[in-house]
């Protein structure tokens, strides 16, 4: 038989369904995020592992200027090495009909026939190479789709200065290219970067590498020590121009996937607790209000002989019902949201398959954490249930004691009319409660401030990167370090208005045991198009000796201006040396490092060389210029800044960056939830007082003043507090959103604070309207009959 208490439970829940659902929703959102994000973490991690395993992604990668094939055989015999596969990798410029601009691509060799031992490809259409024709190529599926290419089509490309026509025989995906970006760019764009696989012999002929290779893939045995293998490989390849072997963790595509996974993991741990804490606070307030108004019923139950435990259990079940309901709904929503997010990830990470996998532990953790958090709020309430003795509970409660509050603020009270005194004393009487409401609203405000700051930060990143740091229109990359005389040739091309040479050199930065694999950029003196800027956007002059690091590298290596940084240049004669850090550059996209071009060339022993050139151009003549550039044998790629900017904006708005909109919406929901609850509770506690005022002859407006005055005071105190909290929270959230790919600055922007203030005031205004509506609807006679 269902106990009468359980009937009461069901009816009480139905009666408070609005508030219960609001709190359940806050819990639900927390659990949803957790289930979704841990599920995504598991899905990405496991799918990636399976993909790497099945298609044998190498553990160690080494590139070299030119090494004889026998070196690959020798490396295969090293202890710890399970397999070594040499290959040829080169850059290509693909011509797409109807587009003047050549598209950058990477050409990768495959064995004449059969499968490679390492870095196999997943053929989605067509067939593998069979060694019959040297012009057969397999093309990266995403690129092919972006240009509507399919097996049987032809493809024209310039490689190492010669133009060739290929026949597409298949489309493929590859674990090596989960995340693909054009060299020198950081954001993927399917249409603007391609990969073509072709036979080893065909590529060897193109690059004049018969019997030699310049890329080596190494698979390790289970018990291998990666460091030892890398050292041994470096030793062997050093004299052939080895650029330094590196592990899978430094492989570009894998690095981005790892970055995303660790971001998800951090968010899964950090964000849901905020929601649960808010829910716990709200539950505490709502339940304590409920116990207060049901003191008579509680006394009655106790008078009938129900034990404290039984009565306590009754109220605890209500807390459990709300928490469990919210948590279960959150689990379901998490599955749905996870499946949707997986679709989004597939746009950026080219997995052949990606199925949303649940982490069963997240269900258990999510539900139990919700219940624990809710109970934490509820336990304080239960203490009050236990403390009520039946007889006292049956008497009307004594009027709330305002003696102490009356002593405080007397001077102020004397200047106020009676309704204002009521507002003042209620605030003074329950400072902890008011502080709770203020902190709650301030938290909402802080969340809004930081989310709006982050929005501004994203815009700032885009603006700074594409308008301030880089003022060029396009960047031309060369096949190899070319003489700076090439710059004059470029400058004479019709449509070019300004040219500046740069040199990019792969480098490993080091400080003590920390190292960072990146690129060092040589800039000309007094550059006009690309420069290193300090935090105040003032150009940092590049000294003859010394290096300017971006904030991310400086932080990763724990370096400050004046410190020495070890640089291991992986080109030319490959010098390793220590240079002073001359400055820290404020860059928000990528992690560059800068040096004076002449100084860099001197270090390499190759004076007057550049690897790329920044251009400004006449837009009217851009297409003709792109065609001219495509025909220059030394040009291997052209990046157009406007396209790079569009790609970046797109990834910000649809990729991981788009989470900021969801977070913004949640910040608003939390803010509104807290403000509305504060207003509702104030109303519930004073319904009888307000009815008395109305009976005495106060108009509904005058009565509402007593109610809303309190809310107004709380909100106005919360605003500056929220501003300060938001200032600090912005840094935390900005750091959370920043990745190696892009950094989001937490800028103090008055507009963000103003907007957040409007959010809070808007929430307060709407909440105020809602409770005043209830106030006007409430039945005076009913409210007065209530004993409390």
């Amino acid at each position: 038989m269902v106990s009468p208490l359980d009937h009461k439970l069901v009816r009480d829940l139905w009666r408070m369904k609005g508030q219960g659902m609001a709190i359940g929703a806050v819990i639900g959102v927390g659990v949803m995020l957790m289930v979704m994000m841990t599920g995504l973490t598991v899905s990405l991690t496991e799918t990636r592992a399976a993909y790497y395993d099945r298609y044998r992604l190498a553990d160690v990668f080494a590139s070299v200027a030119r090494a004889p094939d026998r070196m690959a055989d020798r490396i295969a015999l090293l202890p710890g090495v399970a397999a070594a596969e040499s290959r040829i990798v080169g850059r290509a410029l693909i011509e797409v009909p109807g587009e003047a601009l050549g598209i950058q691509a990477q050409a990768v060799s495959l064995p004449e026939r059969g499968r490679p031992a390492l870095n196999d490809i997943y053929l989605t259409h067509g067939r593998m190479l069979d060694g019959s024709r040297s012009d057969d190529v397999i093309v990266l599926e995403s690129f092919a789709k972006a240009h509507d290419l399919s097996p049987g089509d032809t493809l024209r490309a310039t490689m190492n200065g010669s133009r060739r026509t290929f026949r597409i025989i298949g489309l493929a995906q590859s674990p090596e290219f989960l995340y693909t970006t054009a060299p020198g760019e950081l954001v993927p764009d399917d249409a603007r970067f391609g990969v073509i696989w072709m036979s080893r012999s065909s590529l060897a002929a193109t690059y004049d590498l018969d019997g030699a290779f310049h890329d080596l893939l190494i698979g390790l045995t289970r018990d291998a020590r990666q460091d030892a293998v890398i050292t041994a490989v470096d030793d062997l390849l050093d004299r052939f121009g080895g650029r330094g072997a590196y592990g899978r963790e430094d492989q570009q595509s894998n690095r981005f996937v790892s970055e995303e996974i660790s971001g998800l993991e951090a968010a899964a741990k950090g964000v849901p607790p905020i929601f649960l804490a808010v829910a716990s606070f709200l539950l505490y307030i709502v339940m304590s209000r409920m116990v207060q108004s049901e003191r008579e019923e509680i006394g009655l139950m106790k008078a009938f002989g129900y034990t404290n435990a039984e009565v306590g259990t009754h109220y605890f079940k209500m807390i459990l019902a709300i928490a469990a309901g919210g948590a279960l709904a959150g689990c379901l929503a998490g599955i749905v949201a996870g499946r949707m997010m997986i679709g989004m990830y597939l746009i950026y990470f080219k997995f052949p398959f990606l199925v949303f996998q649940l982490d069963p532990a997240s269900f258990v953790i999510g539900v139990s954490a919700s219940i624990l958090a809710a109970s934490a709020g509820g336990l304080f309430v239960l203490r009050r249930v236990f403390a009520l003795d039946p007889a006292a509970a049956m008497r009307p409660p004594a009027p709330a004691n305002y003696v102490r509050a009356g002593q405080m603020g007397r001077a102020l009270a004397r200047r106020l009319d009676q309704p204002s005194r009521m507002v003042l004393r209620r605030i003074l009487r329950q400072p902890a409660r008011m502080a709770g409401a203020m902190i709650g609203i301030a938290t909402g405000m802080a969340l809004s401030v930081s989310m709006i700051t982050i929005y501004a930060g994203f815009d700032r990143t885009i603006d700074l990167t594409f308008s301030v740091v880089d003022r060029s229109d396009a960047t031309v990359s060369f096949t190899h370090p070319v003489s700076d005389k090439t710059l004059f040739e470029l400058g004479r091309l019709p449509g070019v208005t300004h040219v500046e040479g740069m040199r990019h050199v792969p480098v490993v930065f080091g400080n003590g045991r920390n190292s960072y694999r990146g690129v060092l950029t040589g800039l000309p003196p007094d550059p006009q198009l690309n420069w290193a800027l300090d935090a105040d956007m003032v150009p940092i002059p590049l000294p003859d000796r010394g290096i300017v690091l971006s904030v991310y590298i400086a932080q990763t290596l724990d370096l400050r201006p004046g410190d020495l940084v070890r640089i291991d240049l992986r080109e030319g004669r490959q010098p390793i040396l220590e240079v002073p850090v001359a400055g820290i550059a404020q860059t928000l996209l990528g992690s560059p490092a800068y040096m004076d071009l002449a100084a860099l060339n001197a270090l390499l022993g190759e004076p007057g060389r550049v690897t790329s050139a920044a251009l400004t151009l006449d837009p009217a003549r851009a297409d003709a210029l792109y065609r001219d550039l495509r025909d220059m044998p030394t040009v291997v790629g052209v990046s157009v800044k406007a396209q790079a900017r569009d790609a970046f904006v797109e990834i910000m708005d649809t990729g991981a960056g788009s989470v900021r909109y969801v977070m913004g919406a949640m910040a608003f929901i939390i803010t509104f939830g807290i403000v509305y609850n504060a207003a509702r509770i104030a109303f519930a506690e004073r319904e009888r007082d307000l009815a008395s005022l109305r009976v005495i002859g106060f108009t509904s407006g005058e009565a509402a003043f007593v109610l809303l005055g309190e809310l107004a005071v709380v909100v106005f105190v919360a605003l500056p507090l929220g501003g300060v909290l938001g200032y600090y929270l912005s840094f935390g959230i900005a750091a959370g959103f920043s990745t190696e790919l892009y950094q989001i600055p937490a800028l103090f922007d008055p507009v963000s604070y103003g907007s957040a203030m409007l959010v809070v005031l808007g929430a307060a205004f709407v909440s105020g309207l809602l409770v005043v509506r209830d106030l006007n609807r409430s039945d005076l006679v009913e409210a007065l009959k209530r004993r409390e």
């Binding site: 009307p396 004594a398 009027p399 709330a400 004691n401 305002y402 003696v403 509050a405 009356g406 009319d417 009676q418 309704p419 005194r421 009521m422 004393r425 209620r426 009487r429 009888r688 007082d689 009815a691 008395s692 005022l693 109305r694 009976v695 005495i696 002859g697 106060f698 108009t699 509904s700 005058e702 005076l780 006679v781 007065l784 004993r787």
Partner: protein, 235 residues
């Protein structure tokens, strides 16, 4: 007899609809003369509080008319009813309904601040014998004292009518007598009409007129030839 303060004709109040409808008042015809102490007696659910609430402008009749002098309360808007309560009537309830955050004096001032020709708050408290407790908060006052503050608050505007709903319901006999005495004094000194709802029959002995209620209708109206002083009433 002077002109009536209130006149009702066919006053009807129905709560709910259809077969769940409850008829709280079933066509009440009544005249309440100005300046009298009138007691409404009857068991709970007989409709006496409903009548009080309608005459006091807290509730509206479903049918019939309720005139305050020549004004029909049934035709008033919410705003006009608020005005009516503010300017003409005072209320005293069983559970006092004081503002816990205001002292006795401030509770009275709550009314004097918005009334047209109020008494001084101190004088109103003196009238109920609480001049020395003026700066105490409700939490520092006994039940009887709280009820006297409520009366002081109700009379401070010098209302034409004072509505009392079970004013002694939560009080012991001695305190109850004190409160009734205060009401009698208000009637004597300010000339306010007093309309008091109670189910304690002995209270009727202080009334000029006793209206017996049953099942939403007036069963009997008794005029007291000899009013007793509240202090002489036996509980």
């Amino acid at each position: 007899m002077t002109s009536p303060a209130f006149t009702t004709r066919g006053l009807t109040k129905v709560y709910g609809e259809g077969h769940t409808a409850v008829h709280a008042l079933r066509g009440v015809d009544l005249e309440i003369p100005k300046g009298e102490v009138v007691v409404l007696l009857g068991p709970s659910g007989s409709g006496k509080s409903t009548l009080l609430n309608i005459l006091g402008g807290l509730d509206r009749a479903t049918d019939g008319t309720a005139l305050f002098h020549d004004t029909n309360l049934s035709e008033m808007t919410d705003r006009q009813l608020t005005r009516f309560r503010r300017d003409h009537v005072g209320f005293v309830f069983q559970f006092y309904n004081l503002m816990p955050s205001l002292t006795a004096r401030e509770n009275v001032e709550l009314v004097t601040e918005i009334a047209q020709a109020p008494l001084d708050a101190g004088d109103a408290l003196a009238l109920v014998g609480l001049a020395d407790r003026a700066d105490h908060f409700p939490a520092q006052l006994s039940g009887g004292e709280q009820q006297r503050v409520a009366i002081a608050r109700a009379i401070a505007k010098q209302p034409e009518v004072l509505f009392c709903d079970e004013p002694t319901g939560a009080l012991d006999s001695q305190t109850g007598r004190t409160v009734l005495k205060v009401l009698q004094d208000v009637n004597d000194q300010l000339g306010s009409t007093i309309l008091m709802v109670t189910h304690a029959a002995h209270t009727a002995k202080m009334a000029d007129r006793v209206i017996h209620f049953a099942d939403g209708a007036i069963r009997e109206v008794v005029l007291n030839a000899t009013k007793l002083n509240p202090e002489e009433i036996a509980w």
